[in-house]
């Protein structure tokens, strides 16, 4: 049975993982974090969150928001901190 219009008017909004992922991206970008470099996508039955952030504290903050926004979903995270070492070689441009 199609339940598209089964809910009461003014009831809870649909909570499919796609919308929740979109809301997560919105919150990461526009909130205090200002984080545009973390990408979340629905893959199979889970959500994959990837990206590189400037500090361990920033990563902790991102992961806390992910837990809040995607609670109850199967989430895999791979958020790493930027590498700040000197390069070990140069590129020769012709």
């Amino acid at each position: 049975m199609n339940t598209h219009d089964a809910g009461p008017a003014g009831g809870a909004p649909p909570a499919g993982p796609e919308y929740r992922v979109a809301h997560l991206q919105d919150r990461l970008a526009s909130g205090e974090l200002g984080e545009l470099g973390v990408h979340a996508e629905v893959r199979g039955g889970a959500v994959l969150v990837t990206g590189t952030v400037p500090s361990a504290r920033c990563r902790d903050e991102v992961l806390a928001v992910v837990r809040e926004e995607l609670g109850g979903l199967d989430v895999h995270t791979d958020v790493v901190v930027s590498e700040s070492s000197s390069p070990d070689h140069a590129e020769e441009l012709s």
Partner: protein, 253 residues
């Protein structure tokens, strides 16, 4: 040969104070100039800009920067630029600077740039005022870059570099979702680079992109966003063009 160090998207704030300085202190041994390709702060606050300023002050190599979209977020871009200039950086927006490296003259033209997309999938100056303004901003940035590069051509530079935050080409965005390419760069920047000429184009902004690309006109493009290069900076060795003509090298005027 000119040794160009470059990085973008360092997104500094109080919690990353001093993180890049040990690597930056090695610059005089491996580079002649450091280019900063925008998004130097997280939110564009003056507190964050002071962290960046301290990180680059007294480095021993000249520093040339453009701002990124993050550096505009707090609407204090002029103050951010001022703090970086106080620390010795050249901050460019539709402008150029010429640096002396030994006997060579290195010209850098810079703009933040903006979005709009690439050939075949680009925004047009049509419809709602906000849509038209979006495209006009991108066009103004590209025009500023072209004018600055043309000025460098008149100033007898041995090497000319285009420095932007947004990307001039789609190749260096590979890895990002194609749907967001129009928010990551504009072909107008590449057209400006190819029209005026340059030896290298450097940009940031696309954290999940790729390092290497090229404009239609054959100018090498490098995405130096820190998450892409995985280092505090990358170094590119640029050959000096041979001067042609008996009086080449004589300063004009």
């Amino acid at each position: 040969m000119i040794r160009v160090a470059a990085v973008g998207d360092i997104h500094m704030g109080p919690d990353t104070r001093g993180v890049l300085r040990p690597a930056f202190d090695t610059l005089p041994d491996c580079a002649d100039v450091l280019l900063l390709a925008g998004d130097l702060t997280r939110h564009g606050t003056t507190d964050e800009a002071r962290v960046v300023a301290d990180e680059i002050r007294g480095l021993g190599v000249p520093v040339v920067a453009v701002l990124g979209n993050h550096d505009h977020h707090d609407d204090r871009q002029d103050e951010v630029s001022g703090l970086l200039r106080d620390a010795g950086a050249h901050v460019l927006e539709g402008e150029a600077t010429v640096l002396s490296v030994g006997d060579a003259r290195v010209g850098v033209a810079g703009t933040k740039g903006f979005g709009g997309g690439f050939v075949g999938a680009s925004a047009g100056e049509f419809g709602e005022p906000v849509m038209k303004e979006f495209v006009r901003v991108s066009r103004r940035c590209a025009d500023g870059l072209r004018t600055a590069l043309e000025r460098l051509a008149e100033e007898d530079c041995d090497v000319r570099i285009a420095l932007t935050h947004y990307s001039p080409v789609p190749e260096t965005l590979a890895g990002e979702p194609p749907e967001i390419y129009p928010f990551l760069g504009s072909y107008l920047l590449a057209e400006a680079i190819d029209t005026a000429g340059a030896d290298l184009a450097v940009h940031g902004h696309a954290h999940a992109g790729s390092e290497h690309g090229m404009t239609t006109g054959g100018v090498k493009v490098r995405n130096v966003a820190q998450p892409v290069i995985g280092r505090a900076f990358h170094v590119y060795h640029l050959p000096l063009r041979e001067r042609v003509g008996a009086d080449a090298g004589t300063p004009a005027g």
